[in-house]
C-alpha cells in the first residue's frame, strides 16, 4: 500500500507539464529541478503547480466516462426511484403516491411468481449449468482426441444472439414438427406442446438458458484448472492417486472459489435474463415463465404503468446491489484467507 510518502514519490516522478511555462521560469524542467536542487521555495511552488496540473489531467481523462455514466447509469437509477413514487401513464400528469407502489408490489401475486422464476434460474445455473460447464472443461482438458474441435463447437451457443437462439429453439420445440418431440417419440413419449403448456414452458426455456450459458462456465473452469500448479498433480501421481482422486482432492477444492463466485454471478445473471423469455414465451402461458425483467417491461411499455414499472425496476436494482455486495464480501474474505 503506498502511503503518503508513496504518493509524493509518485508526484515527483510526474512529468513537467507543458503548461508550466505560464507559471514562470523558476519551475524549470523536472530533471533540472532534481539535479540543480533549486531553492526550497521555488521547488515547493513547482510541486504545487505540478500537482494542480496533474489533477487537471486526471479529470480530463476521466471526464468522458464520467459524463456517459452520469447520463445513462447514475441519473436513470435515481430517476427510477423517483418515478416509482408516482402513478403515471407516461402522459402529462402524474400523481404522487409515496410508497404505495411498493405496497402494491409486495402483495402482487405475479411479482412473487416472477421472483420465484428468477430463483429457478439461479438454481438451474448453480446445480445444472455450472456442473455441466465443469464437465465440459474437464473433457477439454482430458486426453481425448479432437479437443480443439470440441471446444470450438461447445462454445458456439454462447456467441449467438439471444433473439436468434430464442427463435431457433421455438422451432425445435414445435409441437408437431419439432426436433425435441421427434427425439422423445423414439422413446415412446407422445408429443408435448412445450411452450404453451404451463407445466413444461419453464423447464423448456431453462434448457435453452443452460444450452446458451454452460459454455461460459466451461471457459471459466478451463482457465481456472489450467492455472492450478502442475506440481500438485505430479506429487499426487507419485503418491499413486488415480484420475478421480486427483480431481476429488486437488482440482475440485481449488475450484471452489471459482464455483462460489460463479454462483453469486448467477444471481446477477438471472436478474439480467430477459431476451430468451421475451422471445419464446413473453412470460406466458398464464405467467408461468414470468421474470422480474419481463414483468417490468410489460408494466412499463405494454400497459404504460410507468410508476409501477419503475417500482419493479428499482427492486431489480436493489437485488443486484445486494448480490454485488455479497460478491465483494466473498472476495474480501477470500483475500484475508489467502493472506493468513
Amino acid at each position: 500500500m503506498p502511503g503518503r510518502c508513496g504518493r509524493f514519490a509518485d508526484c515527483r516522478r510526474d512529468p513537467l507539464p507543458p503548461l508550466a511555462d505560464r507559471y514562470g521560469k523558476d519551475v524549470g524542467s523536472l530533471s533540472e529541478v532534481i539535479v540543480n536542487q533549486t531553492s526550497n521555495s521555488s521547488l515547493r511552488k513547482g510541486k504545487k503547480n505540478r500537482r494542480r496540473h496533474r489533477g487537471w489531467v486526471i479529470c480530463m481523462y476521466l471526464a468522458p466516462a464520467v459524463f456517459v455514466y452520469c447520463i445513462y447509469i447514475f441519473y436513470p437509477i435515481i430517476e427510477t426511484f423517483h418515478l416509482s413514487l408516482y402513478e403515471w401513464d407516461g402522459g402529462f400528469t402524474r400523481r404522487f403516491l409515496g410508497f404505495d407502489n411498493f405496497d402494491k408490489l409486495f402483495s402482487d401475486r405475479i411479482f412473487w411468481k416472477a421472483l420465484l422464476n428468477n430463483l429457478k434460474i439461479v438454481f438451474t445455473s448453480v446445480f445444472l449449468q455450472i456442473p455441466l460447464g465443469l464437465i465440459m472443461a474437464l473433457l477439454l482438458l482430458s486426453k481425448l482426441r479432437g479437443r480443439r474441435f470440441l471446444q470450438t463447437i461447445y462454445f458456439m451457443p454462447h456467441l449467438m444472439s439471444t433473439v436468434a437462439i430464442g427463435l431457433l429453439w421455438m422451432f425445435i420445440y414445435d409441437p408437431v414438427n419439432g426436433a425435441m418431440n421427434r427425439l422423445l417419440n423414439v422413446f415412446g413419449i407422445p408429443n408435448i406442446a412445450w411452450l404453451s403448456d404451463e407445466k413444461f414452458a419453464m423447464p423448456a426455456v431453462l434448457l435453452v438458458i443452460i444450452w446458451q450459458h454452460a459454455p461460459f462456465y466451461m471457459i471459466l473452469f478451463k482457465a481456472a484448472i489450467v492455472g492450478i500448479s502442475e506440481d500438485l498433480f505430479e506429487a499426487a501421481a507419485i503418491d499413486g492417486a488415480n484420475a478421480f482422486e486427483k480431481f476429488r482432492y486437488i482440482t475440485f477444492p481449488l475450484l471452489i472459489p471459482t464455483i462460489v463466485t460463479s454462483s453469486t454471478l448467477a444471481i446477477v445473471g438471472s436478474l439480467k435474463s430477459f431476451d430468451t423469455f421475451y422471445i419464446m414465451t413473453l412470460g406466458g402461458p398464464n405467467n408461468s415463465t414470468e421474470l422480474i425483467g419481463t414483468y417490468m417491461y410489460k408494466q412499463a411499455f405494454i400497459h404504460f404503468n410507468m410508476g409501477y414499472g419503475s417500482a419493479v425496476a428499482f427492486m431489480m436494482f436493489l437485488f443486484a446491489f445486494i448480490a454485488a455486495g455479497l460478491l465483494q464480501v466473498i472476495e474480501a474474505r477470500r483475500k484475508v484467507k489467502g493472506a493468513a
Binding site: L62, P64, Y72, L144, S161, I172, F216, G309, A313
Partner: protein, 272 residues
Amino acid sequence: MLAKLKTIPLYALAAILLIFTGYPFLYMVATSFKTQQMYFTDPFGLFGSLQFGNYIQAFETGLATYFMNSVIVTVISVLLIVFIASLACYPLSRMKFRFSRLLLLVFVSGMMLPVHSTLIPIFILTSHMGLRDQLPALIGPYTAFNLPVSIFILSQFMSEISREVEEAAEIDGCSHWRIFWNIVLPMVTPALATLVIYNFLHVWTEFIFGLVLITSPENMTLPLGMQRFYGEFSVNVPALMAALTLASLPIFVVYFMAQEKIVSGLAGGAVK
C-alpha cells in the same frame, strides 16, 4: 488396451454434448437451404438440398437494412467504448490518486447492473433529446453499458505495464497525451483487440434497448429485425432460418478468425 477401453465412455459423453451444442446450428443451416415443401415433408434431412432462394427472399424483405443499421451502430459504439475506456483507464491504472481504487470500483460495479433498472428514464431521456426511434438513440446506452467490463479488462492490462518506459519519456519531457497515445496504448494493443471483439459481440446481439427505443422497421437493428421476421414469416420457416443464419454469420466469422482472443477475453472479463 485397458486404457483405451476406459476412454470410450468419455468419447460417448463428448459426442452427446457435441450433438446437444451443435445440432441446433446444423438444423438452422440445413433448413435455410430447403424449400418450404421440403421442410414439411422432411424437416430433419440435413444435406438434402442446396438452394439459395430463402437467402434472396430474406434480403428482399429488409434484412439488408437491418444489417446496415447494425453495422453502423456497432462500429460507432465499439469505437466510442474502446476510446472512452482507454482514456479512463490511463489515470485509473497509471496514476495513483486519492480515490482511484474507489472510483475504479464504482466504474466496474456497473457490470452488475440490470439494464431494466435504467430503462424507463433512458426511454424518457431519449424522447426529450428527440432521438426516439432513431438509430443514434442506441449509441449512448450501448456505450454506457459496455464501459464497465471494458474498463475492468483494460485497467488490468494497463496496470501491468512497467513504469520504466514511461519514466524515460517523462524525463524527456513528453506530455501526458503523448505518453498515453504513443507509449501506453501501443503497449496494450492486444487488450484493445480483445475489447473490440468482445464489445462487437455484445453490441451486435443487444436486444432490449432496441426493443424500447426503436419502433419503425427502417431503423431496426438485426435482433429487432429477426423478431419482426418471425412475425411475418412464421409460416415460412426456411426463410426465417436463412435470416437467422445470415444475422449470425458475422459473429461466427469473427469467432473462427479470433477464437483464442474471444475465449481469453471472456476468462479475463469474468471476475477472477
